[in-house]
């Protein structure tokens, strides 16, 4: 819980990882390129006081993760969203057993989501069923740009992917987090839109699709589909650190998301260990849309409470203490919000 100016915020970090990118786990040059790319994001967007050394960036381990993510008790709950990247790392990038064990040791604080890949075929479906039972999965993280043998990507609309989505429905895995953003991109499939999410969200209305990184660098395509599908959400991982170096850009991202999706479908995430959540939460609570950006309504305290934790708590059925809730959280809607509040738009 975070308290500022008499307001209390329940905080859910909806995207964290326990990765291992140390040289002994790198399968090839791409393993190094991948973590170097992350490290450049980290160095480029972090405040100077939050920049880590390269060595400590490669691997954190569970103990440090608990200290970093739950520093000062600000974050109430966090959700693992692992990336497999088996073509880049011997034991994969996200450390499944280590993260799962940590989540079992701290069930009040951590939820473990796993991944699947339709290119694993029938064997992968069997593994999904086994994992769902063993890990009591409520969600999965999907990376459509992951490499797999000769393949450089897949789509949610691939027939095999639909079989996996059907299995998720059957197994009660409701939260489908899908990576649409940097770092690796599919070669051509899906390269510049999120249209596959649109189709899947229409065909699986009982699943929730959280588009991680809100489709950056294709924010416009994401907003356009998300405004039409009530079960599509925006994950702020990678978007929110712009709050520091490029606050005016971040203001526009938030302004667009609130306009197109509304305040009930945006989820805070640090993307730990890319960044740590503490400074992001502090900055976000203090953040406001610049006054000269008259095309956007200011961000209210209520909006911030929803984004920081209440929206994710709803998706994951987290037990939010009574005094941290907001009265009457509505069903999510479709279509642009309050065009009248965004004055330029109403001209």
């Amino acid at each position: 819980m975070y308290t500022k100016d008499g307001e209390q915020y329940y905080v859910v970090d909806s995207h964290i990882a326990l990765w291992d990118a140390r040289p002994e786990n790198q399968r090839n040059i791409h393993g190094k390129q991948f973590i170097d790319c992350f490290y450049d994001y980290h160095r480029n967007l972090s405040p100077e006081s939050e920049v880590w050394g390269y060595e400590e960036y490669l691997y954190q381990g569970g103990e440090r993760l608990m200290r970093d993510v739950f520093a000062d008790g600000i974050v109430d709950h966090a959700v693992f969203q692992p990336a497999r990247l088996a073509e880049f790392y011997h034991r994969g990038f996200g450390q499944t057993e280590e993260a799962f064990a940590l989540a079992q040791a701290h069930p009040d604080k951590l939820t473990y989501n796993h991944y699947w890949d339709p290119r694993d075929g029938e064997n992968g479906l069997d593994a999904l069923r086994a994992n769902a039972e063993r890990m009591n999965l409520q969600g999965v993280k999907l990376y459509t740009a992951d490499w797999h043998g000769e393949s450089r990507g897949w789509k949610l609309t691939d027939p095999m992917a639909y079989r996996y989505l059907e299995a998720c429905r059957e197994l009660g895995i409701r939260n489908i987090h899908i990576h649409k953003g940097p770092t690796i991109r599919p070669l051509d499939r899906d390269a510049f839109d999120v249209a596959d999410v649109d189709h899947a969200a229409t065909d699986f209305t009982d699943l929730d699709f959280v588009v991680e990184h809100c489709g950056l660098p294709r924010l416009e395509d994401f907003c356009w589909i998300a405004t039409q599908e009530p079960n599509v959400y925006a994950g702020l991982a990678v978007a929110i650190p712009f709050i520091h170096t490029r606050p005016r850009y971040f203001a526009q991202i938030m302004g667009e998301l609130v306009y197109w999706l509304g305040e009930d479908r945006i989820l805070f995430a640090s993307d730990y260990a890319l960044w740590t959540p503490k400074w992001l939460v502090e900055r976000f609570v203090d953040f406001q849309i610049p006054e000269d950006m008259t095309e956007y309504a200011p961000l209210s305290t209520e909006v911030k409470k929803k984004v920081l934790g209440l929206n994710a708590a709803r998706l994951y059925g987290l037990d939010v203490p009574e005094h941290l809730r907001l009265p009457g959280a509505d069903e999510t809607q479709t279509g642009p919000r309050e065009p009248a509040a965004a004055d330029l738009a109403s001209v």
Partner: protein, 254 residues
């Protein structure tokens, strides 16, 4: 035998040619964003041998865009009079070997990347030419709206835009590139195909254009910043983002 007077090819000539190569996603020349790492010109009896090295902000920048810029650079430099041979290489990319080999062997995009590649990148180019126009349209309109909120956006024509402003000139350039009308009576707010939206839809069309512009500008800032993080000193090779796009000042707070 009469001496043939030919001016020696200079590095500046090569850079000028590279200045015509655009990163379609950022809508800026690769020379402005610092993607040209080095240019070497060696004069020989048959003409000049040119070697160009390009670099990108990350190892995993989209391979289709990378291919597009590298092959455009090869074409642009090859067309410079006096150039006998050209080597263009992309450095430090996850697909550097593949791209550099494919380009040197003239394999084309599909020949280089294989079965998951589209046959041609024309569709990609067209998409981003449209986005560049949409963003330019939004910049021109929002600049006016911030001065006068009562403007009827749907009724504005190109003749209503302030002549000589960068935002106006930039919009006209992008309309020409798409083959859209540029006469003063043509409406400013248009769909991709040049048709005028129904007045009731005007607001939505402008809002959507805004999200396109924010994506383009945001990418430009992120890519420029990442390049300087990855290649210290590359700031010196970047020219400031042109002031036809003034709406998000690049602001770095420490």
């Amino acid at each position: 035998m009469a001496a043939v007077l030919t001016a020696r090819l200079s590095e500046a000539d090569v850079r000028a040619a590279l200045g015509t190569v655009v990163d379609p996603e950022l809508d800026e020349p690769i020379t402005d964003v610092g993607f040209v790492r080095s240019v070497a010109v060696t004069e020989g009896p048959a003409g000049a041998a040119v070697e160009v090295h390009l670099r990108l902000p990350t190892s995993f920048c989209a391979p289709n865009f990378a291919w597009l810029m590298v092959s455009d650079a090869h074409d642009a430099v090859s067309a410079v009079p006096g150039v006998a041979s050209v080597v263009v290489e992309l450095d430090d990319h996850s697909d550097s070997d593949l791209i550099n080999r494919g380009l040197a062997a003239g394999l084309g995009y599909r020949g280089t990347f294989g079965h998951e590649a589209e046959d041609s990148l024309d569709g990609l180019r067209a998409t981003f030419r449209r986005k560049a126009h949409t963003a330019a349209m939004e910049r021109a309109l929002t600049a006016l709206l911030r001065r006068d909120r009562a403007l009827d956006v749907a009724a504005l024509t190109l003749g209503d835009l302030p002549a000589g402003e960068h935002t106006t000139a930039a919009l006209l350039r992008r309309r020409e590139a798409l083959g859209l009308p540029t006469d003063p009576a043509a409406p400013v707010l248009v769909h991709d195909d040049g048709s005028r939206p129904d007045p009731a839809q005007a607001e939505a069309v402008l809002r959507r254009a805004r999200s396109v512009r924010i994506s383009v500008d945001g990418n430009a800032h992120f890519c420029r910043g990442l390049l300087t993080t990855r290649y210290p000193g590359s700031e010196a090779d970047q020219t400031p983002r042109p002031d036809d796009r003034p709406l998000i000042p690049l602001e770095v707070r420490s």
